[in-house]
């Protein structure tokens, strides 16, 4: 499997965010997207996720399931965590597991793998920022998607949480997955780097 972007150009609000961008990542590889604020890291991830339409160029996933689009084979972990405070932790996760379909796994088990099982029946409103992030990460595990698109995944995570996340990313890469992560901090895994300088 190989994820590649060719000659990507992104324009937002009349301003060119980046242009002529090339990248690629194969099965088992992680791509770390770095760069200063406003360089377009989030925009790039959203272009890959299919949430933004590039002004030029294209993103392609070779070797995936032919009848599915790239965004249907990807998990997107953004700044906003898609959690409903009125629902319990377990209800939040079970909903996404069921909605995203795929091969369902036990939601409780996913919670256990991010060490949130003790909080399964609490309203998500009571969670701290780090716990919310863990719950979002549990969503990545609940349904298998080969491509993970992560926007600042380790923000708000404590040391234990980061270790845990590194382990989960290694598992994913070991299973032939692809990770594209926008980050300021070293991810703790072997990565190829894509440095974005931002538009001049």
């Amino acid at each position: 499997m190989r994820l590649s972007g060719r000659n990507l150009k992104c324009v937002r609000g009349g301003r060119e965010v980046f242009s002529g961008l090339e990248f690629s990542a194969s099965s088992g590889e992680a791509l770390a997207v770095t760069g200063p604020n406003g360089a377009g890291k989030t925009s790039l991830l959203r272009v890959v996720a299919g949430l933004l339409v590039p002004a030029d160029g294209a993103v392609a996933l070779e070797g995936g399931e032919a009848e599915l689009s790239l965004s249907e084979q990807a998990h997107y972990l953004g700044h906003r965590d898609a959690l409903k405070p009125a629902l319990s932790v377990l209800e939040n996760l079970s909903f996404w597991r069921e909605f995203l379909g795929g091969r369902p796994e036990d939601a409780g088990q996913c919670l256990a793998s991010v060490a949130l099982d003790h909080a399964a029946h609490l309203p998500a409103a009571y969670l701290s920022a780090g716990q919310r992030r863990r719950l979002s990460i549990a969503r990545l595990l609940s349904v298998r998607r080969p491509v993970w698109l992560l926007d600042e995944p380790t923000s708000a995570l404590d040391a234990a949480g980061q270790d845990l996340f590194v382990r989960l990313m290694r598992d994913h890469l070991g299973g032939g997955g692809i990770i594209v992560a926008a980050t300021h901090l070293p991810l703790g895994i072997e990565t190829r780097n894509l440095r974005m300088e931002g538009a001049k």
Partner: protein
């Protein structure tokens, strides 16, 4: 299908939990209807003549009011991104969300109609007619209103803009809804004609609403 069922279950659950707005819509409907006699006077004959119109206007405003949050909440917390990316067609997801909204906010309005009919001096048959037209017509209000909600979320504006966008679209539903209930109460038209048109409007909105909403969400997300 289980994905859509999960979406409907989640939305209904949120609407009924603390902080959800489902029951506030009914309360708004009640309050607006109760206000009318203070404006037109407690003349029971007049009220029973105006009754269907008052109830329809109240239901229209109440369903519009609660539509505001249909996509905004999911947009703000990022759920909408994941819904757009999922393997469920966005049109179907929009339809499921609208259906959930109707179940949580539209159905209670119809259940409240008999009590309000009593206040407006409508007899049993008239109340039944109004409730029936609301049952056939409120889905159309929700599904056309959904287009406005989708447009409003991509423009980052809600509230009044939504009202201005949606109210003109709901004029046909209002016309045939009130006409059908008036026909059932006093004639001279037969009830069947306007009621069938009302049902047809609902069916058309089932088709147009999800497609238009999905299109505007797809092109408007950033």
């Amino acid at each position: 299908m289980s994905a859509l069922a999960a979406l409907i279950r989640r939305d209904v659950r949120i609407a009924l939990r603390v902080g959800g707005g489902a029951l506030i819509g009914v309360l708004f409907f009640l309050t607006v209807t109760v206000l009318m006699p203070f404006a037109v006077g407690p003349d029971l004959a007049l009220l029973s003549r105006l009754g269907p119109a008052i109830l329809w206007l109240g239901a229209l405003l109440a369903s519009l009011l609660t539509l505001d949050r249909l996509f905004t909440a999911d947009h703000e917390d990022g759920s909408l991104d994941l819904i757009v990316m999922s393997r469920t067609p966005l049109e179907l997801a929009c339809a499921a969300k609208a259906l959930a909204h109707w179940l949580a906010a539209g159905l209670p309005l119809i259940i409240a109609t008999p009590a309000l009919g009593l206040l407006l001096n409508l007899d049993g048959a008239a109340t039944f007619a109004v409730a029936l037209t609301l049952l056939a017509g409120t889905p159309a209000l929700t599904f056309t209103g959904m287009i406005g909600a989708a447009l409003a979320v991509t423009m980052h504006r809600g509230g009044l803009l939504l009202a201005v966008l949606v109210l003109p679209l709901s004029i046909p539903v209002l016309i045939f809804g009130v006409a059908a209930s008036q026909a059932a109460i006093s004639g001279p038209l037969s009830f069947g004609t306007p009621f069938s048109i009302l049902c047809a409007l609902s069916l058309i909105s089932f088709v147009i609403g999800p497609f238009a909403a999905a299109a505007s969400l797809r092109h408007g997300l950033d």
